[in-house]
C-alpha cells in the first residue's frame, strides 16, 4: 500500500514537472509575408518580429494566456513571383495572415475578396492616430481603409553634380537646381538641352544624358502625369488616358533618343545596367527612388565612401514639368500591411501591426532603407541628412489611383513606351497603339480624352 502511494506520488510529481505552468500559454502563429525586393528593406519583416516580442510581454502582463509567434519570409526576388505566391497563398489555408505590398493593390485585392477592411479595428489602437493622414487616403477604396501604411518614399530626379561642373555650371547654379525644378523653372526640355550639351562637349558618352528604370513600374504614371496627363476620374471612378499628354511624353523620349541623350534600349530588363553607369558617375540625370540611395550606398559605392560619395556626387529634386511655371511632381508608392480575409486571428494580427507602427521601428526602417517614415512623430524626430533633405518632396507627391484595372493601364503605357523608345513606331502611332490596347482590355472603365 505504501509502495503504491510512493509510486503514485512520484508519478504525480513527474506529471507536475511535465505539465506547463498553471497559466497555460496558447501560442498563436501569425504568418507574415513581406518583400523588398531591395535588400535594405528587410525591416519590413524584422520589425514585425520585434513588435511581436513587445506584444508578448504586454500579453503576459494582461494575463491573456496567448503568445504570438511571427513566421514568414522577406522576399528579395521580384514582384511578379511574390504576388503570384501571395495570390495562391490567399487561396490556401496555409496562407499568410499579414501581407505587405503596394498600397495601390488595395483595389485589386479588395475586389478579389482577399483582404478585410480595417475601419472597425483601427480606432482600437492609439498607435494608428500618429500616421500621416494622406497615407490613409492611399489605402482607401470604395470609402473603406484596407491596409496599414508601412512606409512611403518619393521618387526624385537625381543629377550628377560633378558632371554639371564639368559642363561649366557654377556651384551656385548647381545648388539652385532643386529649387528651379520645384518651381517649374527647369523643365523636361531643359533637362534634354543640358544633356545634349553634355554629349556634344564629350562630358558624357552618348545615351547617358538621362536614365530611367529598365523595367515596368509605377514611375511611368509619374512621368505621364508630369507631361500633363490624367489617370483617374474622381467623378466616374474610371481610369483616364490623355492622348495629348501621352504624345508629349513619348515625343520627349523619342527626341532624347534621336539626340543621342537617351539609350534606345534603356528598357533592357537589367538593373545592373542602370546602377553600374550611374555609380560609375557616367550619367547626368536619372530618375530613381529614395530607397535607391540606400541601395547604392550599401551595394554599389560602399568601397568608394558610401553615403559620403553619394552626397558629393549627386543632387536631387522633384521631377520637372513640361511647361515653364508648371507643377513639379514626384510619386509615392506607399507600402502597406494587409490582413488576409482567411486569417483566423484578425484581431491579433491588427494588434501586432499597431505594435509595429511605432516611431522607433518606423525610424529604423526609414533610416536603414532610405524610405520615408509614416508617423508624424518619426518625421519630427528623425535625424538623418538624406531623409531630411528629401522629405519636402512629399509636398509634390502623387499616388497611383485605386482601380482594379490599373495594371492593364500601366502595362499598355509601358509597352507603348518601349516601342517608341526603341524606334519601332513613331510617337503618334505609339499613342494610338496604347489607346487601342486600353480600350480592348479595360473597355468601359476607361475615359479617352
Amino acid at each position: 500500500m505504501r509502495r503504491t502511494l510512493v509510486v503514485l506520488t512520484g508519478v504525480l510529481a513527474l506529471l507536475a514537472l511535465l505539465l506547463p505552468p498553471a497559466q497555460a500559454q496558447r501560442v498563436v502563429v501569425i504568418r507574415a509575408w513581406t518583400i523588398g525586393p531591395d535588400n535594405p528593406s528587410v525591416t519590413r519583416y524584422n520589425n514585425l518580429v520585434t513588435a511581436a516580442e513587445r506584444l508578448n510581454s504586454d500579453l503576459r502582463r494582461e494575463g491573456a494566456g496567448v503568445q504570438v509567434k511571427v513566421e514568414g519570409f522577406f522576399d528579395t526576388t521580384n514582384w511578379d513571383s511574390y504576388l503570384r505566391r501571395v495570390l495562391l497563398g490567399f487561396q490556401s489555408n496555409e496562407g499568410p495572415d499579414i501581407v505587405q505590398a503596394n498600397a495601390s493593390l488595395n483595389a485589386t485585392w479588395a475586389e478579389g475578396g482577399f483582404i478585410i477592411p480595417l475601419d472597425a479595428y483601427l480606432p482600437r489602437h492609439r498607435q494608428f492616430a500618429d500616421v500621416v493622414p494622406s497615407l490613409w487616403d492611399a489605402l482607401k477604396y470604395k470609402g473603406k481603409i484596407w491596409g496599414v501604411p508601412q512606409d512611403t518614399e518619393a521618387r526624385p530626379l537625381y543629377f550628377n553634380k560633378v558632371l554639371l561642373r564639368q559642363l561649366g555650371w557654377t556651384e551656385a547654379q548647381i545648388a539652385a537646381l532643386p529649387d528651379r525644378l520645384a518651381k517649374g523653372d527647369f523643365t523636361w526640355d531643359d533637362v534634354l538641352a543640358a544633356a545634349r550639351e553634355a554629349v556634344q562637349k564629350r562630358v558624357i558618352e552618348a545615351g547617358k544624358g538621362y536614365y530611367h528604370r529598365p523595367v515596368n513600374g509605377p514611375d511611368f504614371i509619374q512621368w505621364y502625369r508630369s507631361f500633363g496627363g490624367r489617370i483617374f476620374d474622381e467623378a466616374t471612378g474610371r481610369l483616364v488616358i490623355t492622348r495629348a499628354a501621352l504624345l508629349r511624353y513619348y515625343t520627349w523620349i523619342r527626341t532624347g533618343v534621336e539626340a543621342g541623350v537617351i539609350e534606345r534600349d534603356r528598357l533592357n530588363n537589367d538593373w545592373n545596367r542602370f546602377f553600374q553607369p550611374v555609380t560609375d558617375g557616367k550619367v547626368l540625370f536619372f530618375s530613381g527612388g529614395t530607397w535607391q540611395w540606400a541601395e547604392m550606398a550599401q551595394l554599389w559605392v560602399h568601397n568608394k565612401g558610401g553615403e559620403e560619395w553619394l552626397f558629393a556626387t549627386f543632387g536631387y529634386g522633384p521631377h520637372p514639368t513640361h511647361v515653364k511655371g508648371g507643377k513639379a511632381i514626384t510619386m509615392s508608392n506607399p507600402q502597406a500591411y494587409f490582413v488576409s480575409a482567411k486569417s483566423a486571428n484578425k484581431d491579433l494580427a491588427v494588434r501586432l501591426l499597431a505594435y509595429t507602427t511605432t516611431p522607433d521601428l518606423d525610424a529604423k526602417h526609414a533610416v536603414g532603407s532610405a524610405h520615408l517614415p509614416v508617423l508624424k512623430t518619426t518625421a519630427r524626430m528623425i535625424n538623418n541628412r538624406f531623409l531630411k533633405e528629401v522629405s519636402y518632396l512629399l509636398n509634390y507627391t502623387t499616388f497611383a489611383p485605386a482601380h482594379p484595372d490599373l495594371s492593364k493601364w500601366q502595362d499598355a503605357i509601358f509597352r507603348g513606351l518601349s516601342a517608341v523608345e526603341s524606334g519601332q513606331v513613331p510617337p503618334a502611332q505609339g499613342v494610338e497603339f496604347v489607346v487601342n490596347e486600353m480600350q480592348r482590355t479595360i473597355g468601359n472603365q476607361l475615359l479617352v480624352e
Partner: protein, 315 residues
Amino acid sequence: MAHEAVWGERASGHARRLTSRYLAPALFLAPATALIVLFFLLPVLTTLGLSLTDISTLTFRQPRWVGVANYRQLLGDPFLGRIMANTARYVLLTLLFNVGMGLVLALLTTSVRERYGGQVRALWLLPRILPPVVYVFIWQGLTREAPFGLVSDVLGVSKNWITASPWTVIILANGLVGASFGMLIFTSAIRAIPLDLFYAAAVDGATSGQTVRRVVLPLLRWPILFVTAYQTLSLLTSFEYILLLTNGGPGFYTTTVWALHAYQLALQNYFGNVQFGLGAAMAAVLVVIGLVVSLLYLRVFNFRALVTEPKVEVN
C-alpha cells in the same frame, strides 16, 4: 427463361474470351495510360475549362463562365500575327541550329579518336547542365558593353548585343543548349551502324562526304525525325531563355513568342493582376498547334515505315 440463360451464358463466355485476350495487354498498358491521362489529358481538359472562364486575380474566388470571350479577345489583339511570326521564326531558326549543329557535332566527334570526341561532347553538355538563370547570366556578361562584355571587347564595337540583335542572341543561347541533345542521340545512332557498311563504302572508293550522304544520313532518318519532332514541340512551349534574356522586348513584342505571351498574361504581372483565363486560352491554342505539327511530322517522315523491322541488322 432457358433461352435467356443460354444467351447470358454465351455473352459471358464472349466476355471471358474478350478479357482473356485483352487482359494482359491492358495490364501492360495501364501504367503508361494512367500517366498520360493524369499528366497530359487532365491538364489539357483543365486548361480548356479555365480558358472558358474569366478567372484572374480579381475573380480568383468566383470565376464566371464567359464562353469563347477569351478567344475573341485574343483574335482582337492586333499583335497576334506578330507573335505568331515570332514563334515561327524562333522555332524554325533554333531548330535548324539545334538539329544541324547536333548532326555536325555527332559526325565530327565520331570521326576522331574516342578520347577526344568524348571530351568535346562533354564540353558541349555544359550549357545543358547549367541552370538557365546562371547560363543567361553568362550570356549577359558576354554581351555587355565594353569594357565589361567580351563580345564588345573582341569585336571592338561597344554595344549591348542582347538589345542590339536580340534574335541572334536568343537563337544562339537556345541552340547551344539544344544542340547537345541531338548530338547525343545522333552519336549513339552512328555508333549503332555496323562497321561493315563503312568498310564496304571504303572498298567502293567512297569519299567521306559520300559516305556521310549515302550511308550515314539515310540510316539516321529515324533519330533525325525523333530529334526534330521532339525539339519542335519543346521549342513551341519553351520560353525561359527569352524570358530571362529579353522578356519579349526590346520594344513592342519584338521577341515575344506565343508561350511567353501566354505566360505573361497568365502568370506574370508586375502589378499582380494576372489573367489566368486568357493565358489558358493561349495555352489551349498552343496544344492544338502542337498536335497539328506532330501529325504533320509523322506524315512527312512516313512514321509507319520507320517503325517496321530495321533494315540494318545489329548484333
